[in-house]
Symmetry: C2
Subunit: 158 residues, 2 copies
């Protein structure tokens, strides 16, 4: 169904092919290039041609984004990959592991939040001064603006 009309023999992908294979809009691909996240060679006429390895980078970027990393963080992670050689299994593994850790923290934070909420449901949460969430009305001030009772791992989320 999403079969490229004529996959050229040179193995380089046009931006259109890349949008179809990556699911990312061409505008996003150009944006990522401006951000230094991916790169492309150019034809004599100035059109982009992508190596297939770019697909792997894009998968990486999307996976990272879905774990909640900003593009800035993605770039940092990528900068830590060897620029010269193709990243090895171990390179990606190290990064995956740190994502897993991040997810663990996010999950933990959400669970804590839910449990807090559960403990309040029976009490008409937020309307009673003794409720743990409600109490953060005043406590929260010490965490700075926007902090609320939001656990550290979730601060970036809203």
């Amino acid at each position: 169904m999403t079969s490229d009309p004529k996959p050229r023999a040179d193995q380089l992908l046009t931006i259109g092919e890349l949008t179809r294979r990556s699911g990312l809009a061409a505008s996003a691909l150009r944006f990522y290039e401006r951000q230094g996240l991916i790169s492309a060679t150019r034809t004599a006429g100035g059109q982009r041609r992508y190596e297939r390895a770019v697909l792997r980078r894009l998968a990486f970027i999307r996976a990272a984004r879905s774990v909640g990393l900003s593009l800035e963080e993605v770039r940092e992670a990528m900068d830590r990959l060897p620029a010269s050689r193709t990243p090895t299994r171990a390179d990606w593994t190290a990064i995956s592991r740190s994502w897993s850790k991040r997810l663990d923290e996010q999950i933990e934070a959400l669970v804590a939040l839910r449990d807090k909420l559960d403990s309040c449901i029976g009490c008409g949460c937020l309307s009673l001064a003794r409720c743990r969430i409600s109490n953060s009305e005043d406590e929260a001030a010490q965490w700075g603006p926007g902090a609320a009772f939001l656990p550290q791992a979730l601060r970036r989320q809203p």
Copy 2:
């Protein structure tokens, strides 16, 4: 330490007192007012004076934001609260319960994502064509831009 200089007897809070007690910036409080999330009476000179019930609303807003609700959604939830009477225990409870559900979904989605990731760590994730995440390179196209393999409940997150 954060003791207001002179808590007036009328029980109304100035915006400064409210920033200290809520932990939200004055600019945020004015913004929330423009958005119709909170309201204030005015002095003869035009300065805002808040009733203490506003603290409850702010706690509500912050709790909602931390669960990932947009201000728009917060407003919808608030609109469903009785405008006339002070919301009862049951009013808040109904809303809390829906948050809990939302948290459950978010947690579930994150756990699924982590498990996916875990299953890839051993395989040098993203570098192998058979990896489940890596495969989403091509599969993801069917979910539309930005979707990646991100579960529904997390789509709003990045």
